[in-house]
Symmetry: C4
Subunit: 324 residues, 4 copies
Amino acid sequence: MAKKENNANFSRLLRKIKSKPLERELGFGKNLALDARLMNSDGSFNVERERISPWDNIYYHLISMPWRHFLALIFGFFLLLNIFFSSLYLLIGVEHFNGVQLGDTLHNFMQAFFFSSQTLTTVGYGHISPNGFVISILASVESFFGLLAFALMTGLLYGRFSRPSARIFFSDHMLVAPYRDGQGLMFRMANTSKSELIETEVQLLLVINQREENGALSRKFYPLNLEISKISFFSLSWTVVHALNDQSPIQHFSSQDLIDGNVEVLVLVKGTDETTQQQVHTRRSYVATDIVWNARFSPIVDQTAKGVPRLITKKIDQHDLLQD
Amino acid sequence: MAKKENNANFSRLLRKIKSKPLERELGFGKNLALDARLMNSDGSFNVERERISPWDNIYYHLISMPWRHFLALIFGFFLLLNIFFSSLYLLIGVEHFNGVQLGDTLHNFMQAFFFSSQTLTTVGYGHISPNGFVISILASVESFFGLLAFALMTGLLYGRFSRPSARIFFSDHMLVAPYRDGQGLMFRMANTSKSELIETEVQLLLVINQREENGALSRKFYPLNLEISKISFFSLSWTVVHALNDQSPIQHFSSQDLIDGNVEVLVLVKGTDETTQQQVHTRRSYVATDIVWNARFSPIVDQTAKGVPRLITKKIDQHDLLQD
Amino acid sequence: MAKKENNANFSRLLRKIKSKPLERELGFGKNLALDARLMNSDGSFNVERERISPWDNIYYHLISMPWRHFLALIFGFFLLLNIFFSSLYLLIGVEHFNGVQLGDTLHNFMQAFFFSSQTLTTVGYGHISPNGFVISILASVESFFGLLAFALMTGLLYGRFSRPSARIFFSDHMLVAPYRDGQGLMFRMANTSKSELIETEVQLLLVINQREENGALSRKFYPLNLEISKISFFSLSWTVVHALNDQSPIQHFSSQDLIDGNVEVLVLVKGTDETTQQQVHTRRSYVATDIVWNARFSPIVDQTAKGVPRLITKKIDQHDLLQD
Amino acid sequence: MAKKENNANFSRLLRKIKSKPLERELGFGKNLALDARLMNSDGSFNVERERISPWDNIYYHLISMPWRHFLALIFGFFLLLNIFFSSLYLLIGVEHFNGVQLGDTLHNFMQAFFFSSQTLTTVGYGHISPNGFVISILASVESFFGLLAFALMTGLLYGRFSRPSARIFFSDHMLVAPYRDGQGLMFRMANTSKSELIETEVQLLLVINQREENGALSRKFYPLNLEISKISFFSLSWTVVHALNDQSPIQHFSSQDLIDGNVEVLVLVKGTDETTQQQVHTRRSYVATDIVWNARFSPIVDQTAKGVPRLITKKIDQHDLLQD
């Protein structure tokens, strides 16, 4: 690894940081990997947790899996439930149904399957109907559990649909751009939702490899001050700026310094979604190689013919390199 | 435009503001239109966002569109789903239904349509019933998706119905009225909901065109101090007052000054709705021409025969012009 | 009224208050009744609001009306919907139904009614079924609206059932009891819910008639300091104490003084319900005649045989008068 | 009890505490048992509340009872409702059903039962159908109440499923371990949920028996300072440390001192669950005998082959005794 070979360079770099790292524990344990990134670029943490039981976190998985997986899963579950009950009907004997013409096993199974699906969904056409004690009881039980199963499925469906989420687009890169009399480390966010985001707050955390007094490398956390860290409403776009002045722990760092320190910048955004009136959180992470030096973001907001500001989301990452 | 012709006047006006504008970014980008209003009077922002995908923000649209649109939409969706499945049944052949007398295509389609709607809604009378492998499978699939579709529709229906919202009426005008030893800029709000609004907070932001050092005009934001900015409960009415004293950025401004600066006052209200115990936000915007000078609000609360205070909402904007 | 006859006494009383009343507006307007109470003892405000439209606040009414009213209402609505659709079926002609034996109008209406209710609830036995174009369309429409109507009804049912509420019992009286070296004004609350109430906060506001400089009487608000105003968890009972020391606006007031000033003490409680993890608010109001002088609350918590503290809710107001 | 025999020792111990106990009431009443623990180790309070009415807290019970109880309860309720309506049908006479072959009472009852369950679940096959005025009315009523009952059941089912909860594992023991130049009292928490916990805060409260000035023993509360009490995200594990320095009320206490004082440490955790974006609370309690002296927690986070930190939840309580 580059940074291990550049020890002299790296020690030099770390002497440059004058501010104190955060004392507070961040929930990752002490022995953080020096090479791996802490947070994936989509804001999920790059960690693993041993599964305690298969039922653990099942709600989390069902609510956050991609839509196509979810729809496949519930359709599969519907099929399985039907197959399960159909098999029971077949065992009892489909001759206990009214309206079924007996045939081979597959034919009988399909009849049971159709009856089962009509029972689970509570359609109940009735051209097939239970006729006999055991089969009537089973149909009654199936309709009961069918209602509960659909309740869960439909609850999840709507839960997923209405889940509050901050639909924030982040620029792919951070820029080091001219800012006031010096430079600033900046990235850009855009609110792509029709719903306003109110009282939006941003926090930035720098993660960097640093040498302890005992000579061991470890990852340290530094808060990065923001010029503006809270806005009343986040309607279109927001360029978040950390000024590289003498309050900054990385004031005179070069691009290579940041790479040597395996720098990662964690972005934490919090706000209130107006439609659901709920608080939403979102996260993003940038690593050293995501930082572009001496560049400036192009405008992302233009005006319509009527003079109304218009957000052009696809320009979120557009930036121009500056001549030195 | 008047304000471009009155440049001398306008520069004079801007020299009058002694306080510093807000540094914080407000999420509108930098190049705000000097002429357009920022917020519509109903509190929605006067901005546009490029649509990323047609599915984007679909929940937002469904939950916030007018009721008549919503009902038309879901009825249309129900019709379309039925037509889609009916066409499939027609393709397979309605002769695979029990209980259908064959006729011309329209007749057959209608039979398929009725069967389809009885399946989607899970009514399933059964006088028409599927008879055959393919058609039974399709009916099973339809009832499954029918349940999911109704789950979404009914979830949205209740979600719309129970959505927390601050039902606040604002006066149509702001008044410049006598206040203490001087004058105050004031507007009035009334809580028309039966549900109390608890811990209600108001913020006021002034937006004004101002000349930068480089001579360019740009829109600046100033917070306007309030005599009272938070109340424990907002039961009937509240007259919100910004004193035009020496803390005010617009202390000695005339009516024409405000128009020249294309002034807009943004009102942000936040509170807790007691029925749903959720936080609600609402907004309002006043422009320079909404301000009435030298007027006083008429009482909006009278008393019933039993001495109980009574809010007369329709008087919310009633005010009397004062003799100078 | 006693207090109008006792003007001398009353003026004396008001000179006694040294602290400044609250400047902040409380949302009741300015012309509060001097005689009426501001808040009913159940915490609802004693105010009226002109109704804007019959649909206004309909969710609030449906969610907060008593259960027996709600159940009667939705059953009535179900009946009305059925009668409406039955009448339409009757108009079209019940001869268009399969499975109906024609009879007199009442008989026919009842057949239509039964069909309608089987359609609305999506039971759809099918012994009566639509046979004909118009009647099939109508049945299809009914089942669609039936599903939506039941969605609203059942959403409301569960919404009512699961609505977060602080189930706090208040003592019927406030006591003036010995406290430290002097006296305190106190009342008692008990958490009767199985669910803990976390981070519970209490605010007390005194409302009193006071003579303005111009001689007019008006109602003024004073906050009452509490020895403890926030607790981490509110598990069993809490005796809330306002010390009648020199920070109190009513330090040397007699019982008659409080009656003369038509005193009302507003209690505002806020906490987080653990089961729903939502914030809940509740209120209570005491008037001068609810105050018992020289008394002490009896214990409300005893211990079970195993030494476990036990709340005896019915003792919430039990107090002993003290010998002078 | 040991502590009553060790009065001399105990008084010595209590003189050691220099900090002032919390004035604030904690909602348990004044006469706390000296011997019983205040909070069970699962975080529920060790208290009892007299039941006011059987309907009291029914939502709480239904939402928090174990799953197997809940499922048994709703299945039992479904059975009971069916038996209730079946009995009514039997009373009216099953000869009023179409499609029923009459038999002995049990046979008739079962037919009524099957019809009832098909009505409650709205399956409505229709091979049995009501034929007659009274029985049709009853079926109509049953389907109405069936829909409402299922609405409640399914609402509860989904409410239970989606209830926000902090899935935090706590170590079984607290350790007194080397910390900085001295020692610290510490325990460990792990977030076992896939969902991140954001802005997590911890509060520690010490409960200890202490002798009042009048000689009586009573339980007192002391806050315990934490080195870090809030973290931005709680991703894997967190070792919470109370330094046993001169700010600590129990600085020089021995193991026996803590047992003599019947010490209990209450842990209150609060955070925001990312999936539901709701605030969640959880609690834990440790008693004196849960404290292990001179031990150190073993690492709970290792790394996968790819260098990703991995939480091994089952090691949550693993610790090594230290040689003195």
